[in-house]
């Protein structure tokens, strides 16, 4: 191998329904590192791409939500395993995207991998922690179980390109929901690498759909889409969230509570990103001979 070998540059594309298409719009936009050096052109997702992604997510929902919690946990753990194998690539991606030092990038990538492990462990415990046998005052057996709400529209954080993305995506999957994710606009490359991991980690196609593009452009379409059940507006400007929330009210979407300022995502989360994606179902049955 000579020193003059030219590296093969990768084309960064969307991830919809388990495939890697370009934007149907044919649009792309350049992505630079934090010093302004060109990294790549990425697909610039359109309204139509959003709609295709929602269709794919809805199609994947019965299978994913119907899988056993044990199975979902193993799949999420598999994502962590495959990410670990690509650790160096993620570290390089995060360094380029966020302009952080090597040590910091390693910390962020390790935390992102561990976050999958954390949520892998939640899949088969949510019912025990959030469900209940209800001691109703009558001859009935009554119990309440949490069930996934459906398709979730996620606007990933704009700053934290990988750890933030995993922190908002993994809980959606842990509950059994499927996701349409709009990545960070200016730092989308780690998300595309993550899509390659998801595609090779036993995550069924369509369970996660990743769109690179502009949150402000795509948000109205996800917020108004009748087949989206919940929204996470983390990656949307705080000033735009009120209008989107009003739009989402037309179809009674569940909205995740998000802080105005993006956190650093290092702290171990609790149930705050699991509960919004769960519906409680209460079942009654008479008891008697």
């Amino acid at each position: 191998m000579s020193d003059t070998r030219l590296a093969v540059a990768k084309t960064y594309k969307l991830y919809i329904g388990g495939k890697f298409p370009r934007s149907e719009s044919g649009r792309s936009y350049p992505v630079n590192d934090t010093r302004g050096r060109f990294l790549a052109n990425v697909a610039h997702a359109s309204r139509k791409d959003v709609r295709d992604a929602v269709v794919a997510a809805r199609k994947a929902f019965p299978g994913w939500s119907g899988a056993t919690a044990y199975n979902r946990g193993q799949v999420l753990f598999r994502v962590a395993e495959v990410m670990e194998g690509r650790r160096e690539q993620f570290v390089a991606d995060v360094r380029a995207a966020e302009g952080v030092q090597q040590r910091r990038a390693e910390t962020l990538v390790d935390a992102a991998i561990d976050r999958w492990v954390y949520y892998a462990g939640w899949t088969d415990k949510l019912s025990a922690v959030l469900g209940a046998a209800n001691p109703v005052a009558g001859p009935y057996f009554s119990f309440t179980v949490p069930e996934p709400t459906g398709v979730v529209g996620v606007f990933a954080p704009q700053k934290s390109s990988l750890l933030g993305l995993v922190s908002v995506l993994a809980p959606v999957l842990a509950t059994g929901c499927t996701a349409v994710v709009v990545t960070s606009a200016d730092r989308p490359l780690p998300a595309v690498t993550l899509a390659e991991v998801l595609a090779t980690s036993d995550v069924p196609g369509g369970v996660v759909n990743l769109l690179t593009g502009r949150a402000e452009e795509l948000a109205p379409w996800l917020a108004s889409h009748a087949d989206v059940n919940a929204l996470d507006l983390t990656g949307v400007e705080p000033s735009a969230r009120g209008e989107l929330a009003r739009t989402a009210a037309d179809t009674v979407k569940r909205l995740v509570r998000v802080p105005d300022q993006e956190p650093d995502w290092i702290a171990t989360p609790g149930l705050e990103r699991l509960r919004p994606y769960l519906e409680d179902k209460t079942v009654w049955h008479p008891m008697g001979v």
């Binding site: 044990y70 946990g73 415990k125």
Partner: protein, 477 residues
């Protein structure tokens, strides 16, 4: 009439990677024990499988000390999220070596390969996987904001599900931050010692898991050891009582998973073919070496004759023989001692006037085998209705009303499990509320899952294994 003859389909015994010698696993190393070595045999043909070095009191001292050191210096201080990753590794290692472990388990225990392959080993892996997820979520388990581990757990397990019982013991203990010294059963030590290898492959800190093979005296020394903070025992009610008495007044936390004499209750509206499958699974699964086996069949009188006829036909089609054959339904009785106990109780059933029917299946010439047997006309006073047989022997009684079924089902000092067969959901739920048993299966039997707590009422023991409830056993709460 058999419709098909089955060609032999033996699993390859070389897959077990059987070694001539096995040694105790103490402080992260395999070491020579100072106890009298034992020979573990294949109960299907009586051949010696391997020689196993056993431990004496000084070895137990070392193992408990290794566990104490690991507890104080590493394990209890480690963040739960890191402990979790060790447990995930152990789960994956069991999955990776599942076939080897299944064949080894079948060789050492005598259970059919399809059971070790499809139940024991995958469920053991699932137990580690499930508990791994709890290690960093204990504050959500309902025992307060920051529940603490107990320390060193001394654990004694039986021979009926060797690796699975190990998983039931070790996974929750480690997830909660404890370290363990575990004694496998005298007749089935091999998979537990291979588990020591898995601990090495996982890079588990030395001393977190220690495996000390030996007989009952080793178990007694372990549970009575002053350095042990928590005792978990699965085995007979007889030995459980001895341990509970031995530890009385020491303040050590105990969990006891003991014997059972489960009632499997069939109502006249039950789908009979499905019920027959459940009855067969309930009592002949694992040769009836199951503490929660459905060993007392309670049938509503109006369908008793019809059900018995179907049952006898179905049992006569069970294939008994070489446990390594993938077609085998009923394998070998684990030991000569257990076979003698089964024969003694069956003789008592005949002597006390119950009607014996035994499957006409041929028995292998070598090894310990007992043909599936069904006693009808059983009275509640007979030994076969009261005592745990722990073998492929079913006692059939009848009832007329649901209330009578409840009374008969609860007429036992045990209380581990029960089964109900009826199409009527409201009756299932009423029955479950009346039965004094820790697990009740409705229109199914012998289901186990790491998320579902398991354990008994009354003399079937106390404490639960699995689920959120199972964590309590290993937390200082």
């Amino acid at each position: 009439m058999a419709l098909f003859d089955y060609a032999p389909a033996p699993e390859n015994r070389d897959i077990a990677n059987l070694k001539a010698h096995y040694r105790p696993f103490i402080g992260g190393e395999f070491v020579d024990g100072n106890g009298e070595p034992l020979k573990t045999i294949n109960p299907a043909n009586g051949e010696v499988l391997a020689e196993v070095s056993t431990v004496d009191g000084s070895d137990i001292d070392r193992a408990v000390q290794a566990a104490r050191t690991a507890y104080e210096k590493t394990w209890r201080r480690m963040p739960g999220s890191e402990r979790a990753k060790y447990l995930f590794r152990l789960a994956r290692l069991i999955q990776e070596r599942a076939r080897e472990l299944a064949v080894l388990e079948t060789l050492d225990n005598g259970k059919p390969i399809k059971e070790s392959r499809d139940v024991d080993i995958p469920t053991a892996a699932a137990h580690f996987f499930y508990h791994a997820g709890w290690a960093d979520k204990l504050s959500y388990a309902g025992y307060g904001p920051d529940p603490q581990p107990l320390g060193v757990a001394g654990q004694v397990i039986p021979w009926n599900f060797p690796l699975l019982m190990l998983a039931w013991k070790i996974a929750p203990a480690l997830a909660c931050g404890n370290t363990v010294v575990l004694k496998p059963a005298e007749t089935t030590p091999l998979t537990a010692l291979v588990f020591g290898e898995l601990c090495q492959q996982a890079g588990l800190p030395p001393g977190v898991v220690n495996i000390v093979p030996g007989a009952g005296d080793v178990g007694a020394a372990l549970v009575g050891h002053a350095g042990v903070d928590k005792v978990a025992f699965t085995g007979s009610t007889e030995v459980g009582k001895i341990i509970q008495r031995q530890l009385a007044g020491t303040g050590k936390k105990m969990t006891m998973e003991l014997g059972g004499k489960a009632a499997n209750i069939v109502f006249d509206d039950a789908p009979l073919d499905q019920a027959v499958e459940g009855i067969v699974n309930g009592i002949f699964f694992n040769q009836g070496h199951v503490c929660c086996a459905g060993s007392r069949l309670l049938v509503q009188e109006s369908i008793a004759d019809e059900l018995l006829e179907k049952l006898r036909y179905r049992v006569s089609t069970l294939r008994l023989g070489d446990p390594l054959d993938k077609n085998t339904d009923v394998g070998a009785i684990n030991s000569a001692e257990q076979l003698a106990k089964i024969r003694d109780l069956v003789a008592s059933g005949e002597a006390e006037g119950a009607e014996r029917w035994t499957s006409p299946c041929p028995l292998p010439e070598k090894g310990f085998f007992f043909a599936p047997t069904v006693f009808s006309g059983v009275q509640a006073s007979m030994r076969i209705a009261r005592e745990e047989i722990f073998g492929p022997v079913l006692s059939v009684l009848t009832f007329r009303t649901p209330q009578e079924a409840v009374t008969k089902a609860n007429n036992t000092p045990y209380g581990l499990s029960a089964g109900i067969w009826t199409e009527k959901g409201s009756r299932i739920l009423w029955m479950t509320s009346q039965l004094r048993a820790g697990v009740v299966w409705a229109n199914t039997f012998n289901r186990f899952d790491p998320t579902a707590p398991f354990g008994g009422y009354q003399e079937s023991g106390f404490g639960r294994e699995g689920g959120r409830a199972g964590l309590e056993a290993y937390l200082d709460v």
